[in-house]
Symmetry: D2
């Protein structure tokens, strides 16, 4: 029996505000990407999320983003690679320390929002992320979009990485995530998303929207939890994986 | 020949703004307390300061403060001890990661501004700081005002600490730093400040403003660098220590 | 038939985050207290809220709070009266300009959270708020807790004001809002809250928790909308007022 | 005798930080562009600057920028025209209210940093600025780079505007400000800058770096004050204008 990781973005509130149903998602996923205070999250929410993840046996990663709380890290702010290195290192350290404070351990890093989008195809930015992660703790794993510049940069630098696919996102013919502003970028129908995901897993390939198959190892599936619908889709995907005899296991445990 | 540490608050700019003459101070002190982004500092300034400190052989500590950039961490915001633990842990981790990124190493922590003032006499806050530092890295040293609740809390918890005196500040009859708003709180005359400091070192005691002596080990002297006058005073103090055959050595080297 | 105003705190999201059901509340209340970006709200949310309020014929006020997004303006940060004047003036102007941009008009101001709590009993802070409002636009009305230092300060300064009571809050024997941390501070039962409110209206008095009646004009009732339960209570109060033949009318229309 | 306005960016500190010598510049210029809290400035600094400007008889304008304190408003963050309208309106109102609080009056608006750079050549952004200013107060003047999309947009919308040139900046052959990253963008030599400025005034034209003359009305000269050298250049320019029998007068007085 093969196994796979399910990851999701958690701890995305700020101060009095909440986003998504973290408790529900922590019962579904095996890895939690936790916001580090730059695009969302604060030290209290981080600590609470790390503590809950520990209780549930869920692995935790630093979800590092642009310093843009107002824009939720989704604005493509023009930072240089050197600035990005320091943006990543700072958040990574903050998350590692708070995880230690909670008796848990950060085992991986993942880029969020505009940073992840840019790093999917911009090699200089991808290498900046890899350099920062390695400099802070070379035993960390980088969770990155399969077939992206990030996985390539990690491989070249000798940094461990995990290849991720998205359960509810369509791919362009080049194997890139279809931009959210384009029609059909998000697969809203749960059943369609689940079949799309199972198909990619069984074929060991990204299935592009023109039908092409791009071979890639797949280590993790990203699911969302920001709406009741999304939580439900994540739960059904988990069940479908069990039915398909695919085990669930975090790619990086402490 | 005995030896002592000289510490100063550095990296206190933010974005386009600068405060004090960091380069001058790095040639004078043996330990740099570097702001961590909550009351001052940002990831770029932190990295630059860590890199310069490394070049000069200066030890670096995380100068942790309240999340209050506008008030420079000097407003007495009512945070609970648990909130303070996480405020400290977050900044400490960020600093440790950026130091690693720069090839240097955080060896100590120090509380800034209102946090330090409250922790001087509030045991619950002092213990919160100590708990956070220990949880993140129990090998760190806590640099704290001599005879304060912080040194007491560190001792009780088995956390290493360094006792610090202030070169240019008067002490109340209880051995507390005289509040800045009170007359005579700051010793503006360089010669007077130097004699006051040398007196405390040679007597191994805080000299209170009523003339009382309160015995204490002294491991470090805090000097300021935010004005040309302050830099000059720090330089003269360094020379006076050399003249008095007191060596300079960081209390916590990597 | 007498008439009364119903006011509620709206526009309390920030960036990607939302709080409460603004659309539901705009169909219930006659006045909307809109956050101005310091404790919640941003220019986009403000503009959207002003535009919706205009469509519904709802009066708008600037809900001014402490600069503390993370703490939602609920932390008692020690600002001086002069600092508070400028905090209030800045937000008031921002709201007035965005209202003009939306074709609506700010007709009143109300203090939020810790600022309101402090100003209920601290005359110096109350007078600072009044001075700021008058200086910016002396035709504005100050919406303030009945029998508070704010109403007193407004009266003395010749600034128009509206006396407000809270539908779901208990009052101490001195006629102050019972602090939230105390038992029984919030009246959770909708029916009890409605009867309490109707009682105060019919008696023209604050009903304290020891049964005392403190006479006061009542111009507005504050209702909350941050939970489905709160929205339901507001709706039922509106119906109960109609049943009691009390009309609804904003105390300050453009 | 003809007359001209001298404008400069003032109030560009934040919290404990200062930038430039505002007092020196207020004795030189006739118009002060005051930062409004988004890229620099805060309500206390704004109030202080407005009060000093009033004492010196200097006109005040709202210097509106991107919400990017860390980047000082110089990052080209991709905001939509509608977002820019609200960014401008918010800051404008805040400045107008604080000016009223200080007994002074905002008579004009000017875009700062990346917002100004983009609006120099992007018509949609220029029109967004004009729409916001008109919606908030149609009697305001827009201070904008001569021959830019901003002056064009203001003219088309019937908003009063003032054409500004830069004392120490070179112009491309198209009459645009030469980007700061290019060689020769800033004219460091005071005498050269002054002759360049006097030349443009006497010819009534932008003098491009290929020698071309682009005719334009000139209402104001922008001078900098962020270094002692810059203050000195501003002072010498003021003297040179007096020698050339050019009077100094704000283009928009209360």
């Amino acid at each position: 029996m093969t196994s796979i990781d399910l990851n999701s973005d958690l701890g995305e509130g700020f101060g009095p505000w909440r986003m998504g149903d973290d408790d529900a998602m922590l019962a579904i996923v095996t890895s939690a990407n936790v916001a580090c205070g730059f695009h969302a999250g604060d030290q209290d929410i981080m600590a609470r999320t790390f503590a809950h993840a520990k209780e549930k046996g869920v692995a935790i990663g630093a979800h590092v983003g642009f310093p843009d709380l107002w824009g939720f890290g989704r604005r493509a702010i023009p930072f240089s690679p050197a600035e990005i290195e320091r943006i990543v290192a700072y958040q990574l350290g903050a998350a590692m320390a708070l995880a230690a404070y909670c008796g848990h351990k950060i085992t991986y890093a993942k880029a969020h929002g505009a940073l992840a989008n840019i790093a999917e195809s911009d090699g200089a930015v991808a290498r900046a992320i890899v350099r920062a992660v390695r400099a802070v703790d070379s035993s960390l794993v980088l969770l990155a979009i399969a077939l992206s510049e990030q996985t390539k940069a990690a491989q070249e630098a000798g940094l461990r990485f995990a290849n991720e696919i998205y359960a509810d996102r369509a791919y362009t013919k080049d194997g890139r995530l279809k931009p959210r502003r384009e029609k059909g970028a998000v697969i809203d129908d749960a059943e369609a998303a689940i079949q799309h995901t199972l198909g990619m897993l069984s074929e060991g390939a990204i299935i592009c929207d023109d039908g092409a198959r791009l071979k890639t190892p797949i280590d993790s599936i990203c699911v969302h939890g920001d709406t009741p619908h999304a939580v439900d889709m994540a739960r059904r995907l988990r069940e479908a994986l069990a039915d398909a005899n695919v085990g669930l296991r975090a790619f990086a445990l402490p």
